[in-house]
Symmetry: C2
């Protein structure tokens, strides 16, 4: 994408989640101009959701196109996706949307090009250009997003790395404990079963049945973090195990990819101080490349060493990353 | 590198191993013009080995430069390496060579540019442009070399992927069995401890002490493959475990990288029929991306699916890949 120097432009980002649909306009400096949010009408089906997206995009374009040039639309949505075709495969949080030709259907309705990307890749792109990557001066990173599941995205030299079928960076399904918990993907012991908010809440509920957490309802990753911060040993132990699984997964990534920066985002990343010591210890135990290249103090980022940091951008990174797609396709 | 169309060129490849030093001249069509081999004089120290390399390179250049344009020299050597500086770090098979500035020292003596690459990356480059990658029409692959250790190289769009410090693709040290065998790298349960020729011979020696292999000396990966082919159940089981470990490691790679092609090379790959069924089974068990993208029959390569094949080139792939470096740097 090329625009004249000094020209003011804007792009539209769409974050299609299983719960909410968010659409926003951003300047080329990643400043948010305005946004529209609504519930995702999953039960009403793909046609209704496509219409909601198109209406919101048109409204934002109409609002801003008098003073700025519109450079395009990017959509982040749950994986797995087939790319570059932009076809949804079997998104677990969007039942009934299997096989939806998201890119084609949006382009047909809008009459303009649309770029579609897996939400975790969009978040990684935003962290690269406006978050941790920008702060540490690198354009190559891997981001793990610890939320309902564990998403991941790899950015090489400022662009999303897709692999040959658009599925690169499914690190949430790297095998961590071979005979471990069954995963929704059909395998066992995937990272997602140990480091997602869902996994943390499940571990907490098993405490709630037997232990001092009985009656605490609902048990969430957040409530367990609060217990841990208040000194509850069992909650601390749950987060220590999160760190351990994450460190094993990161050890594989460091040995394979040798990237300068790994970013941990998503809601769970708020508990960084609870899980990161065990995470760094597991990385040291399981990757000699990490041992060779780690900072003197792993918790203090160091330029030119293998650095792992919490995400800098909040939960809107996926929305911003979607808006970046027309610039970095 | 650019040369005039129709111009005949040649490059020099050097394969610096712990046992032998091989130098060869290749045409731009990867045809070998001539070669010089000698033992690597490890005990005589780096200076003697540098002199041996330079003499052989000069001899081959003198032999071919009357009819062809010399485009450069590439050297493959054991990792880990610091790149692009071309400095050896702690090569286990080249004691006394720690910290050697291989690229700088060769360039100073030759007065011309030298490209240095990890031997496993050089082999992967050769498989990409003249072996399995060429045969299957892809320029992106990951190659695992099962030899004394387990080396690996990642080629993206025809070029070696280095990561930020030249250490990308150390898949031999991906953790496969978390509490497994101690590895020379300082971790436990690395792929190398289960799928290298060294690991296979060690497993065989434990049989030789207790079982029917007693007195069979020396036990090697090759002799065990021959026992397995002759129907010995314990030797078959050893190779089944090789396949299982390899499949777990490949499952991580497939989930992370989503490349179209994985190539298994090195001496152990000759036993492909012994280990590949267990390898494919473990990939299916541990990677849903593999399950989504595998060929109808994993053992029959299929264009557009995640394919795993034995290497096409023999043990000279590292030498050829070194000679390719001036063309694909």
């Amino acid at each position: 994408m090329y625009t004249m120097a000094g020209m003011n432009t804007f792009s539209i980002g769409v974050d299609l989640g299983g719960t909410s649909l968010r659409v926003a306009a951003f300047t080329q400096d990643w400043e948010r101009l305005s946004a529209i949010s609504m519930p995702t009408r999953v039960d009403a089906g793909p046609e209704a959701v496509l219409q909601d997206m198109v209406s919101a995009i048109r409204q934002l374009v109409a609002e801003h196109q008098s003073g700025r040039e519109w450079v395009g639309t990017g959509v982040g949505c749950p994986g797995p996706l087939e790319l570059p075709s932009g076809r949804l495969l079997t998104p677990p949080n969007l039942p009934g949307f299997e096989g939806l030709e998201l890119k084609t259907e949006l382009e047909r309705r809008l009459g303009s090009p649309v770029l579609v990307e897996c939400d975790a890749n969009a978040a990684a792109l935003a962290e690269c250009h406006a978050g941790a990557g920008k702060a540490f001066g690198t354009q190559s990173l891997c981001m793990l997003t610890l939320g309902t599941g564990v998403g991941s995205g790899i950015i090489l030299d400022g662009h999303v790395w897709h692999g040959f079928a658009g599925m690169a960076g499914e690190a949430g399904h790297v095998p961590v404990y071979l005979d471990g918990l069954p995963c929704g993907c059909g395998s066992r012991g995937c990272l997602e079963q140990y480091a997602s908010a869902t996994a943390i809440a499940r571990a907490g509920r098993s405490l709630a049945v037997a232990g001092p957490h009985h009656g605490q309802d609902p048990v969430t990753a957040r409530s367990l973090a609060e217990s841990a911060w208040a000194g509850d040993a069992e909650s601390e132990e749950i987060y220590r195990k999160v760190g351990q699984a994450l460190g094993i997964g990161l050890a594989s990534l460091v040995s394979t990819l040798n990237l300068p920066l790994y970013v941990v985002g998503g809601g769970v990343a708020a508990a960084w101080d609870l899980f990161s010591p065990a995470m760094f210890a597991a990385m040291e135990a399981h990757s000699y490349i990490y041992r060779l290249t780690k900072p003197a103090d792993p918790s203090i980022p160091e330029k030119g060493r293998t650095t792992v940091v919490p995400a800098r951008l909040g939960p809107d990174s996926g929305l911003l990353g979607a808006a970046m797609l027309p610039f970095f396709a």
